[in-house]
């Protein structure tokens, strides 16, 4: 196949930001090429440079053997379909399409012939005299395509042309565009951020990221053998794990060694391991290469998407003591007051300045008068010290309505998990049945009452406590002590299956050497 | 396409001659005094300004101009705001019709309209100030209404619905949503009324009779009757400064209240 376009080392800066970092790319005759990447990766910039609307800062563009750097846009034999169609609002459909032909000063009969042929190619016969601003998105789209194609360019540039259409229409247009490209037989260069679109239409996909090309290949190659984690994540769903390539065809991840089909890595090289969710089968726990629990199920129509946890995260269990407090009633002043006993971490006393306000909230101390108006607690006195032990604290109002409760200062009790680099801490606590019943979000409140926290051991950043396990019914709770377990998220796999499962099911994960794809950790160079 | 910027060059030359140079001339005349017959014989001085500020008659004229401009502006605002609000609440067709009816008189020659008022007012016995006041309000009211209406009708209708949804009644919605958002319109309305009112000289001359003198009339007198261009220019400069000061003041209000 003949090489039609060559980008050599294209560099482009915008306001000091490097948008294209020296891009090299070849495009051949009759290809449907897609530039794929997220917003800002440079794909549209590259397209506009080819079209002649932008000048590159460095590098050359070669078209059909000739350098076209100094050729203005209106002299290039390239036509563009713009993202928002850019139809001429003051011309009707026929005149929009005929615009380029009129510029070339072709005769009216020739123009009529070509325009009508285009109208039937895009299925818009009969629309000649229509006002373009009153057409639907899909129709405007087709006028834009006809307007570009009627000039018989060698290359058609399409800048995210389907973005404004709804899903069904978009899928239809994808098929149309592919058909037109094959029928007319010219090169299409298509820009999009939608990976499904790229997979559907392209002969060749160019995956771009931050101004550089990550990988070039056919849809099948890109999907099955992504060069690195970026490409793998961009196309299709993925599970990507840190692993070590022990030797050719042998990789180790998640504490297990697996046979795989990849080779050519250094011995013991750190790698990224990719397994697609649709390649994992769900079997009985004993039959799988890994075992886990289903955490969530999403119905996607075509299949269910399950999150399966094979390794639990780090957890800490504490005791919740449910007690009924009696309010203290000061009849003479017409006031009532109440508070709970509470636990305090001795480390917190050491490191943080704990104020009276802090104690009031932890104890849930409140005072109110006979009309149920809140009263402020102006008197707080205690004998709390930083060493573990039992102390007492008294809360009181102006009118001397008082309540005294116990304060348990305890040793800090964290769980530190060096393997996952996570630390987690939580305290026992006292609570009344009323407070539990009044809670609007019980898991969140339990975390607050227990002062539960989790953090990354290396950089101290906060880690989410995603799991709160408890065994009681919040609407019907009796006095007593209950276990509450807080955990962080462990290792989770995304699995696609058509079988029905429920959260809590215990399952086995099964996959073979073909399903494992090993990738280099650094950015893949092309 | 990029080279099209050169199309603006001819006009840039034009404004140098016909917009910038005239202002420079006024400035020059204001700070000089003619010492001979030729225009090139002059001497720098600030006497012109001194003459203005030291003479109580001139200060009275300045204050009268400011007073009547202020009265006109306030009145136009008080009468015009409700009008704009009511119009904005009309159905679309009636609204367009109302706006058209309001703008039609703006296209009719100002002198003809003022002259008509002269005829009407001859049948009544009002003081000069009242007659000038009526003439000014008449001339400037449509501008105030149109500016405020423009701001109110550009407001997103959904905001009112949101306010009602959150429990505000009609009065509260007006005070907390419509009024604050209409402030840009109020500011432009004030600008379009106060500034021309301060510098007006036709209306005072035609409706006020020979004795009612505002700053604009003063400038005319010194230029054409007395032939003292230096003093005339000085008065113009003073008036221009008053106007710049009030525009700066309104711009400050603009920045505080606006959400553009």
């Amino acid at each position: 196949m003949r090489k039609l376009i060559e980008f050599r080392n294209i560099v482009k800066n915008f306001d000091g930001q490097i948008v294209l970092k020296g891009v090299n790319l070849n495009i051949y005759e009759n290809e449907f090429v897609t530039l794929l990447g997220p917003s800002g990766c440079g794909k549209t910039t590259l397209l506009r440079i080819l079209g002649g609307f932008l000048e590159q800062d460095e590098g050359t563009v070669i078209f059909d053997g000739q350098c076209i750097d100094n050729v203005p846009a209106y002299k290039r034999e390239i036509n563009t379909v713009f993202q928002r169609y850019a139809l001429f609002p003051h011309l009707n459909v026929y005149e929009n399409i005929a615009f380029g032909l009129r510029i070339k000063k072709l005769g009216n009969d020739i123009i009529s012939q070509k325009v009508n042929r285009m109208l039937s190619l895009v299925n818009l016969e009969g629309y000649e005299k229509r006002n373009v601003t009153k057409l639907s998105g899909g129709q405007q789209q087709r006028v834009a395509i006809a307007r570009a194609l009627v000039n018989e360019p060698n290359v058609l540039l399409l800048d995210e042309p389907l973005g404004a259409l709804d899903l069904k229409l978009r899928k239809e247009m994808q098929r149309e565009l592919k058909r037109i490209q094959q029928e007319v037989g010219i090169t299409f260069i298509f820009v999009t951020h939608d990976q499904e679109e790229a997979l559907t239409m392209s002969d060749k996909i160019v995956v771009m990221n931050a101004g550089a090309i990550e990988q070039i290949g056919t849809p099948l190659e890109i999907y099955n053998e992504p060069a690195n984690a970026y490409v793998a994540r961009f196309i299709g769903e993925s599970n990507i794990m840190d692993g070590v390539m022990l030797a050719d065809y042998k990789v180790r991840f998640d504490d297990k060694t697996f046979e795989c089909t990849d080779f050519g890595f250094k011995s013991n090289e750190p790698v990224d391991v990719l397994i697609r969710p649709e390649d994992i089968d769900l079997v009985k726990p004993r039959e799988g290469v890994m075992r886990g629990e289903v955490k969530s199920v999403l119905f996607k129509g075509v299949h269910y998407e399950l999150m399966v946890e094979t390794k639990t995260g780090t957890s800490k269990t504490v005791k919740m003591h449910v007690v009924t407090q009696h309010d203290i009633d000061n009849r003479e002043a017409g006031e009532k007051i109440s508070a709970n006993d509470f636990y305090v971490d001795s480390d917190d006393l050491e490191n943080k300045e704990m104020t009276d306000q802090d104690f009031i909230s932890i104890a849930n101390a409140q005072a109110w008068d006979d009309e149920n108006r809140d009263l402020s607690l102006t008197h707080v006195s205690h004998n709390i010290e930083k060493t573990p032990g039992v102390y007492s604290i008294t809360f009181g109002t102006e009118k001397k309505t008082e309540v005294t409760v116990k304060v348990y200062v305890v040793h800090p009790e964290y769980v530190e998990d060096p393997r996952h680099n996570i630390g987690i801490s939580a305290l026992d606590f006292f609570i009344t049945p009323d407070e539990i019943q009044e809670s609007m979000a019980i898991s969140t409140d339990l975390k607050t009452w227990a002062s539960a926290e989790a953090w990354n051991l290396q950089d101290d950043s906060t880690v989410d406590i995603t799991d709160v396990k408890f065994d009681f019914d919040p609407s019907d709770i009796k006095e007593g002590s209950y276990d509450i377990t807080f955990s962080t998220r462990g290792r989770v796999y995304k699995v696609e299956t058509t079988d029905h499962h429920e959260a809590g099911d215990k399952v086995g994960l099964l996959f073979g050497p073909d399903d494992i794809h090993v990738m280099h950790k650094e950015e893949g160079a092309v | 396409m990029k080279s099209f910027f050169r199309m603006s060059y001819p006009y840039i030359l034009w404004i140098g001659i016909f917009i910038v140079a005239p202002m420079v001339m006024i400035l020059l005349y204001a700070v000089t005094r003619a010492t001979g017959d030729s225009t090139l014989a002059f001497q720098f001085t600030l006497d012109n300004f001194g003459k203005f500020f030291s003479d109580p008659t001139f200060m009275r004229v300045l204050l009268t101009s400011l007073r009547i401009a202020l009265m006109t502006t306030v009145f136009c605002l008080l009468i015009g705001y409700p009008a704009a609000l009511f119009i904005a609440n009309l159905p679309e067709r009636s609204q367009t019709m109302m706006v058209l009816l309001l703008t039609l008189p703006m296209w009719i020659n100002m002198l003809l309209k003022t002259y008509a008022w002269r005829g009407i007012l001859m049948n009544f016995d009002f003081s000069s100030e009242i007659r000038v006041f009526i003439g000014m309000v008449y001339d400037f009211l449509p501008y105030m209404i149109i500016q405020i209406h423009s701001a109110i009708s550009k407001m997103d209708g959904n905001l009112l619905i949101a306010a009602h949804d959150l429990g505000a009644n009609k009065w509260k919605t007006f005070m907390k949503v419509t009024l604050p958002l209409s402030v840009p319109g109020i500011i432009s309305g004030i600008t379009l009324v106060f500034l021309p009112a301060v510098s007006s000289f036709v209306i005072p001359k035609l409706l006020g009779g020979g004795d009612y003198v505002l700053i604009g009339n003063l400038i005319e007198i010194y230029f054409l009757t007395a032939g003292d261009w230096n003093f005339g220019s000085a008065i113009s400069l003073i008036m221009a400064l008053v106007i710049i000061a009030s525009m700066w003041a309104t711009k400050k209000l603009d920045r505080n209240g606006e959400e553009e």
Partner: protein, 274 residues
């Protein structure tokens, strides 16, 4: 509009009636002098307070009054010339500015605003001083030049927003399809901003037609426009009412035409859209 307001009477009759009456009063106030002028233009006598009978004498008078007719002629001629020149120059400049660097554009627009923001009298005096100091005698030419000076800014102010609204891609599409930059300008940009150009021209025309102060200070001896003529009348002349009435009729017709013709055009193209 009163009928529309009355339809809302179901909900809050008092308030609706109040708003309708309020607006009616305002309209009455606005049209009072106009009505007065039209009425008294047909008055038989010279009186300004008594309508004694119907007569066309003031119209006849007007057509025989050479000075009055001459002032109308000058007004129209100056307005037409100023409008044409300002519209052309204003359009070209606006397009040039839209492609200029931001610094240049903002500076030019700021200076452009001076005649708009300045009181008439300051602009007028400045121009007069300019001409006289430059030893240029005041004449019809200086009058026209002055009018052009204050019309162009309005044209630019009207066109700039519409230019900013244009989809850049449409002009690029023209280039993409082989049009040279000039062809793109004529075939694509201008047709798109056409309504703004028309609007600007209309505003320029009315600013020139209506002008008094600037004309007063920059016209040559013996050259009067309508405003200057009315200003300088020694005694009250009822023919002015006739002239005013004619102007009211013309203005109304123009405004109606400007508003109704686009609607008729729309209906025609709608029919073609089956």
């Amino acid at each position: 509009m009163t009928e529309a307001s009355k339809k809302k009477n179901q909900q809050k009759p008092f308030f609706q009636r109040f708003t309708s009456w309020y607006l009616v009063l305002i309209l009455l106030f606005i049209y009072l002098p106009i009505g007065y002028v039209v009425l008294f233009s047909f008055n038989e006598s010279k009186s300004l307070s008594n309508f004694t009978g119907f007569s066309l004498r003031w119209y006849e008078n007007m057509f025989q009054d050479r000075t009055m007719l001459q002032s109308i002629w000058y007004t129209v001629i100056v307005a037409v010339i100023s409008t044409v020149i300002s519209t052309v120059v204003g359009t070209i400049t606006a397009i040039g500015l839209s492609k200029s660097k931001r610094v240049v554009r903002n500076l030019v627009l700021e200076v452009n605003n001076l005649p708009v923001m300045n009181p008439d009298i300051v602009t007028a005096i400045g121009l007069m001083l300019l001409f006289i100091s430059g030893k240029v005698q005041l004449s019809l030419t200086t009058l026209i030049l002055s009018h052009i000076s204050f019309c162009i800014p309005y044209v630019i102010l009207t066109i700039m927003p519409k230019l900013r609204q244009l989809d850049d891609n449409v002009a690029e599409a023209a280039l993409d399809l082989g049009a040279t930059p000039w062809q793109a300008l004529l075939k694509v940009i201008i047709p798109q901003i056409y309504p703004a150009i028309l609007s600007g021209a209309l505003i320029a025309f009315s600013m020139s037609f209506d002008d008094f102060v600037i004309s007063f200070f920059t016209a040559g001896v013996g050259i009067n426009n309508i405003s200057m003529y009315v200003y300088s009348m020694k005694r009250y002349n009822p023919s002015v009412n006739a002239m005013s009435t004619l102007i009211v009729v013309v203005v109304t017709l123009i405004l109606v035409a400007v508003n109704v013709i686009p609607r008729i055009k729309d209906k025609k193209t709608n029919k073609e859209d089956y």
